[in-house]
C-alpha cells in the first residue's frame, strides 16, 4: 500500500508526504502485558476450580502456573527474536484460551462421575500444549519467509490427501465414537486430519495464486451472477468429492464441512467472484442432501438437531449440554460449582457448554469474542499482507478457526446439526492442539512479514552516484 506513495515526483507539495505512510510498531511490550493478563485468566481459572471443587487452592497451582508461564514466555521470546513485527494480540488470546481449556479439563478430571476413572486429561493436555509450543517455536525459527511454502504447493496437497486417507487403512486406522479419523501407531494415536488442514491451506493458497486469473476472469453472466466456465470447475469438484468421501467413508461430518467451506472461502477470497459461492452452495446442498439420504449417521444428527427432546432421540448429549447451559444462566454456577460431567465427552467437543454452565452467558460471550478477535487478526493480516500467497494463507488460516468455531459452537447450541469438531485450544485433544499452535505460528510469520516496514529502496542506490551512462557511437 505504501508503494503508490513512493513513486518519485517532483511536484510533491511540501508537507504532504507520501500517502498512507503507516509504520506498524512492534508492540512487544503490549504483547507481554496481555500475556500476563492471559496467564491471570488461565491460572486464575485453575485456582478457582480448586476452590470451587475442593474448597482449597490446588496443591500443584504453583507448578501448573509456572509451567504455563514458562511455555508462554518461551513463545513470547521466540516472537521477540524471530518475528518481532508479528501481531501482538494473537499469542495472548491463544494463551488465555489454552489456559482456560486446561482449567476446565482439570475441573472435569476432578468430577466424581461421568469420566473415565483414574485418567488425568489435564496433565496430558499440558504435555500436548508443550509439544504445541515446541511446534510453534520450530515453525517460527525454521521458516524465515512464508513465501518459501509456495514451492511446496503440490507436495502439501498430496501429503494432505495421504494423511486424510490414512485412517481408512486397515491396521493403523481405528473407529472412535463412530468416526474413522484416528490412526494408531504403537502407543501414539492422533488425528491426521488436523495436520491435513494446515497442509490444505498451503496447497489451496499456492494453487489459487497461480490459477486465480483463469478462475476469476473467464465465464459468463447468468442472472446478475458471473458463473465460471465448465472446465474451471475441476478443482472445486475434486474438493467436493474429497469432502463427500470424508463424510461417507470416515463418518466425519465436521471435517468434511470444514474442508469444503475452507476451499470455497479461499476460492472466493482469491477471485472476488460471488459466482463461486453460488456454485459451491449448490454443490454443498446437493452433497448434504445426498449424505442425508444415504448415511444413517447424518440422519441421526439431523433428527437430533430438529427434535432433541423426542422420545427416541439420539441426542442425549446435546440435551444434557443445553440443560447445563440453561442452569448456568447469565453468570454461571461458578467454576467447580456446576456439574458439566453429566454431559458425555464434556471435556472435548462439549467443552463450551461446560464453560457455559460454570461461567454463564457472560463467560461464553467473552470466549466467543476472543475467537472473533483471533479471526479478525488473521483477516487483518491478510488485508495488509503485501504478497498474494501470504494473503491467501492468512485468510485461509483465519477461516479454519472461524469455520471450526462456528461449526462446533453452532452444533452444541443447536443452531446447526451437531458435527464433531474440536473447539480450538479449549478442547482436550493432542493433534488438534499441536496443529492449532502450528497454525498460529504460520499466522504470526505472515503477520510479521505484513507488518514489517517495507525495505527502503532509494531510487538511486548510494553507489549509483558515480555510475553514469555514456552513449557510445
Amino acid at each position: 500500500m505504501s508503494r503508490a506513495g513512493r513513486t518519485p515526483t517532483t511536484k510533491r507539495a511540501p508537507g504532504a508526504g507520501p500517502l498512507m505512510e503507516l509504520v506498524h510498531r512492534r508492540r512487544r511490550g503490549a504483547e507481554l502485558y496481555l500475556l500476563v493478563l492471559s496467564l491471570v485468566v488461565g491460572v486464575g481459572a485453575y485456582a478457582a476450580v480448586g476452590l470451587g471443587v475442593n474448597g482449597q487452592v490446588p496443591a500443584d497451582l504453583v507448578k501448573h502456573g509456572a509451567w504455563l508461564a514458562a511455555l508462554v514466555v518461551a513463545a513470547h521470546v521466540t516472537i521477540r527474536y524471530k518475528a518481532e513485527y508479528a501481531d501482538p494480540v494473537v499469542l495472548p488470546i491463544v494463551s488465555a484460551l489454552n489456559g482456560l481449556g486446561l482449567a476446565m479439563i482439570h475441573r472435569i478430571d476432578l468430577a466424581p462421575t461421568g469420566h473415565p476413572v483414574g485418567s488425568n486429561f489435564a496433565a496430558s493436555q499440558l504435555v500436548w500444549m508443550t509439544l504445541g509450543v515446541l511446534g510453534f517455536i520450530t515453525v517460527l525459527t525454521s521458516l524465515r519467509d512464508h513465501r518459501r511454502l509456495q514451492s511446496f504447493t503440490y507436495t502439501a496437497g498430496l501429503a494432505a490427501i495421504v494423511l486424510l486417507l490414512l485412517p481408512l487403512l486397515p491396521g493403523i486406522g481405528k473407529t472412535v465414537n463412530g468416526a474413522r479419523i484416528w490412526i494408531h501407531l504403537g502407543p501414539m494415536s492422533f488425528q491426521p486430519g488436523e495436520i491435513a488442514k494446515v497442509l490444505l491451506v498451503i496447497a489451496f493458497a499456492g494453487y489459487l495464486v497461480l490459477h486465480r486469473d483463469a478462475l476469476a476472469l473467464a465465464g459468463r453472466r447468468v442472472l446478475f451472477v458471473d458463473l465460471p466456465r465448465g472446465r474451471d470447475l475441476g478443482p472445486i469438484l475434486a474438493m467436493w468429492l474429497v469432502s463427500l468421501g470424508i463424510l461417507v467413508f470416515q463418518n466425519d461430518l465436521g471435517s468434511s464441512l470444514m474442508f469444503f467451506g475452507l476451499f470455497l472461502v479461499m476460492l472466493y477470497v482469491s477471485t472476488e467472484r460471488p459466482g463461486w459461492l453460488v456454485v459451491g452452495g449448490v454443490l454443498f446442498a446437493v452433497g448434504a442432501y445426498a449424505g442425508y439420504v444415504t448415511t444413517a449417521h447424518v440422519q441421526a444428527r439431523v433428527h437430533g438437531w430438529l427434535d432433541p427432546f423426542g422420545k427416541d432421540s439420539p441426542s442425549y448429549q446435546l440435551v444434557q449440554a443445553m440443560y447445563g447451559m440453561a442452569w448456568g444462566g447469565l453468570t454461571g454456577r461458578g467454576l467447580g460449582q456446576g456439574s458439566p460431567q453429566t454431559t458425555p465427552i464434556s471435556w472435548s467437543d462439549f467443552i463450551l457448554p461446560s464453560l457455559g454452565e460454570e461461567l454463564g452467558l457472560t463467560g461464553v460471550i467473552a470466549i466467543i469474542l476472543l475467537y472473533a478477535l483471533l479471526v479478525e487478526r488473521g483477516l487483518r493480516t491478510a488485508l495488509i499482507c503485501r504478497d498474494n500467497f501470504g494473503k491467501l494463507v492468512a485468510a485461509g488460516l483465519a477461516t479454519v478457526f472461524a469455520l471450526q468455531v462456528f461449526v462446533v459452537v453452532g452444533g452444541v447450541t443447536r443452531l446447526i446439526p451437531l458435527t464433531g469438531l474440536t473447539t480450538p485450544f479449549l478442547s482436550q485433544g493432542g493433534s488438534s492442539l499441536v496443529a492449532n499452535w502450528v497454525i498460529v505460528a504460520l499466522l504470526l510469520r505472515v503477520s510479521d512479514a505484513a507488518r514489517r516496514p517495507p525495505p527502503e529502496f532509494s531510487d538511486q542506490p548510494a553507489d549509483m552516484d558515480s555510475t553514469q551512462v555514456v552513449m557510445m557511437r
Binding site: G15, E21, A48, L51, L373, S458
Partner: protein, 162 residues
C-alpha cells in the same frame, strides 16, 4: 468455603476474563492503522521547513508580471511536470536530492542547476557526462535563459514558463 467467597470468586473471575478481552480490544484499537513513527517525524520537519520557506517567501519582493515562475518539462520521460521556481536554485538530475528529478538514462545524478541572479535566470552545467544544451550548443558556463528558451538535458527538454 463460604457461599459469599464463592460468589465473589465467580464474579471476580468473570471480571478478569472481561478485563482481558477489553485489554486485547484496546491494544487492537491502538494498533488499528499502525503508527506514524519514522515518516511522521520526517513529515513534521518537512512541515516546519515549509512554514519557514513560506515566511521567507512572504518577505521576498513580489515577482513582477512577466517573470518566469516555473520550469516545465516539455519533452522526455517526465514531460508535463511543472516545478515552481520559488524554491530556486533548482538542482536537475537523476539523484534523489534533485528538485527536478528526471528518469532519463542520459542524465547524470547531479546534472545541472537553474538559479537566478537579480531578474535573470541562469542554467549551469555541474560537470555532467552528456552535457547540457541551450538551443543547439553545449554550455560550458552559466548561461542566461529567458521565457521559452529550451534547455536540453539527455532526452529531456525543459523550458521556463510564466
Amino acid at each position: 468455603m463460604s457461599e459469599l467467597t464463592l460468589v465473589l470468586i465467580r464474579f471476580g473471575y468473570l471480571a478478569v476474563l472481561w478485563i482481558f478481552v477489553l485489554s486485547a480490544v484496546s491494544v487492537i484499537r491502538s494498533d488499528m492503522f499502525g503508527a506514524r513513527v519514522a515518516r511522521d517525524q520526517g513529515r513534521v520537519q518537512e512541515r516546519r521547513s515549509a512554514k519557514a520557506a513560506s515566511k521567507a517567501r512572504a518577505k521576498a519582493p513580489k515577482p513582477r508580471r512577466g517573470d518566469p515562475t516555473a520550469v516545465v518539462i516539455v519533452e522526455g520521460g517526465n514531460s508535463g511536470e511543472l516545478v515552481p521556481l520559488a524554491a530556486a536554485p533548482l538542482l536537475i538530475g537523476r539523484g534523489s536530492d534533485a528538485a527536478i528529478r528526471l528518469d532519463d538514462d542520459y542524465v547524470s545524478t547531479r546534472h545541472a542547476r537553474i538559479a537566478s541572479s537579480g531578474d535573470q535566470w541562469y542554467v549551469e552545467d555541474l560537470g555532467s557526462t552528456n552535457g547540457t544544451y541551450v538551443g543547439s550548443s553545449r554550455i560550458t558556463q552559466a548561461t542566461a535563459i529567458s521565457l521559452g528558451t529550451q534547455i536540453r538535458i539527455g532526452k529531456t527538454i525543459l523550458e521556463l514558463r510564466k
